[in-house]
């Protein structure tokens, strides 16, 4: 039974690596691959959910009013 579970886990791991194009990483650094997967799953569970349906992402790119005079050029 344990052997079947282990091979299932192994198959899942291989499949995940294949999906992500990370077969080489799994091969050279199996422990860290597993640790990273686990760290990401924990972080995903831990991060706070947005408070409201209307919470907008913090946008990085802004579209400045190009007609406005820039501070540096003032």
């Amino acid at each position: 039974m344990a052997t079947t579970e282990q091979s299932d886990d192994e198959a899942q791991l291989q499949s995940r690596a294949r999906e992500l194009g990370l077969e080489r990483v799994l091969k050279i650094d199996r422990d860290k691959f597993i640790a990273a997967l686990s760290a990401a799953q924990n972080l995903s569970k831990r991060i706070a959910r947005p408070r409201s349906l209307y919470d907008e992402p913090a946008h990085v790119c802004v579209f400045p009013d190009r007609s406005a005079k820039r501070g540096d050029e003032a």
Binding site: I28, F33, A40, D72
Partner: protein
């Protein structure tokens, strides 16, 4: 020799302008010092010896003709090796970019050169400003000038080590989760992460687009303020660059030294280092002593509370890992063996986060910004810990792993507020263990670096820390 090595860049520039100091002599002195000592500290990845001396001679020629380039005329500087300087490699301390020759100066490089600065070389970093210190890269990691057995902080390790060691008066670093404030804290110097958007990131290898900042690293607050004045300003080629005029930061720092901070309000976020994490007793005691100094200068010090540190850290992490992996995915797929083991391990969780995780993080971000803004409605600056621990042995794997989350710097990358790390004392030390630097952090309102510099300069003037230097010459 030592006097020139630790000369303030403002004083050096004044003497060069007044023809009391030759830029060539100054540059040669620093190059000699680097040659003598840097074998122990590995601050430099690349030294531009001939080019720097040629530039120093040219600076003297220009000066003799009656012209003046700018405030840094004839003063040497260094760049973290993720910042482009035209014609020389930007390696990011990585095998992957070992031959990546920059074709153009980064915005900040061109600003410093235009102000008359002389590029002395490129400085050691953690690989791609992430992970580290690593011993499996083409170049060794930088070490702490206070004790070469110790970690100098990172990822701007070489910038911190070089400035503290008196190899350079100024260097630039970058800061995505604390990477300039960390070496400043570990090396007993000053590192400022200005407001997001204040300093252009164009020409700097990204780690996380929305968290990356470019930072001045110096030995004193006034030098830091004056350097920020040089590198800050709008850059139409950086989409996040803010179109605001640059204030007179040096004047703000001088005002702090001259007029003090009587009546200014300082909020202390103690729960970051006493409850959410528990700082080393030496760090806690040094911050408390610093708060007493601030109160003694007439500031009103009060405790304030905000969201738990862990919530800030998690939101910062999900964004950093997602954006970082977006930068590195192709190399992780095709050249994973070319990364250091630790860098790969640091970047890899980003592969397993979903688009939804990232968007949720970005949706939460404004709440963290609002939480810090709310505190700053009632106080002029915030004070909290920078690192929770003093410097530790560079090869202590457990301490290395522990140090990444044991800090309170990442919240301000997430919120974009200006945050400055400055020295607040030293560990006691013993015959076999020299005293090591301790630090704290000051945080201001968005685009109000002036107030941070003012308070920091007043504190610095009232304490002896800026006059302490690593024991290289003993």
């Amino acid at each position: 020799m030592t006097q020139l090595a630790y000369l303030s860049w403002l004083e050096a520039a004044r003497k060069i302008r007044g023809r009391e100091l030759s830029s060539v002599t100054y540059t040669k002195t620093l190059l000699d010092r680097i040659k003598r000592h840097d074998g122990q500290f590995n601050a430099f990845l690349r030294l531009q010896k001939d080019e720097a001396l040629a530039a120093a001679r040219e600076a003297e020629r220009v000066l003799a003709s009656g012209a003046r380039l700018g405030p840094l005329h004839g003063v040497p500087f260094g760049l973290k090796d993720i910042i482009d300087a035209s014609g020389i490699p930007t390696t990011a301390h990585s095998k992957i970019l070992a031959d990546n020759v920059a074709t153009r100066d980064a915005f900040v490089t061109s600003r410093i050169k235009a102000a008359g600065g002389i590029l002395l070389g490129k400085l050691s970093t953690h690989e791609f400003a992430c992970g580290g210190p690593c011993f499996d890269l083409p170049w060794p990691p930088a070490r702490n000038p206070w004790d070469r057995r110790m970690y100098p902080g990172g990822s701007s390790s070489g910038s911190g080590a070089a400035v503290a060691a008196g190899f350079l008066p100024v260097a630039l670093g970058s800061d995505t989760g604390g990477s300039s404030r960390h070496p400043a804290s570990m090396c007993g110097i000053v590192g400022m992460k200005a407001t997001y958007g204040r300093v252009s990131r164009r020409g700097v290898i990204p780690l996380s687009f929305s968290l990356d900042h470019i930072c001045p690293i110096t030995r004193t607050v006034a030098e830091n303020a004056a350097l920020l004045e040089v590198i800050a300003g709008h850059d139409p080629e950086d989409p996040a660059s803010a179109p605001y005029a640059v204030p007179k930061y040096l004047a703000a720092a001088e005002r702090g030294s001259r007029e003090g901070i009587k009546g200014m309000r300082i909020g202390v976020i103690r729960h970051f280092y006493r409850k959410d994490l528990v700082a080393h007793p030496d760090v806690d005691a040094a911050i408390e002593a610093a708060l007493e100094v601030l109160a003694g200068l007439g500031a009103v010090v009060e405790e304030v509370t905000t969201k738990p540190l862990g919530e800030f850290a998690d939101c910062n992490q999900v964004i950093l890992l997602s954006e970082g992996y977006a930068v590195h995915r192709e190399w992780m797929q095709t050249r994973p063996e070319d990364y250091a083991v630790m860098t790969r391990a640091k970047l890899l969780p980003g592969a397993f986060l979903s688009a939804v995780d990232y968007v949720q993080g970005v949706r939460n971000r404004p709440h963290f910004v609002a939480a810090i803004d709310q505190l700053l409605e009632k106080v002029d600056v915030l004070v909290t810990a920078s690192s929770m621990d003093p410097p530790f042995l560079i090869d202590d794997e457990e301490a290395k792993a522990r140090c990444y989350p044991r800090q309170a710097r990442a919240p301000f990358n997430l919120t974009g507020h200006p945050a400055l790390a400055l020295p607040v004392g030293f560990t006691e030390g013993s015959d076999s263990n020299p005293p090591l630097p301790l630090s704290m952090q000051m945080v201001g309102r968005h685009f109000d670096e002036e107030t941070v510099y003012r308070v920091a300069a007043a504190y610095e003037q009232a304490t002896p820390w800026k006059d302490q230097h690593p024991p290289l010459d003993k």
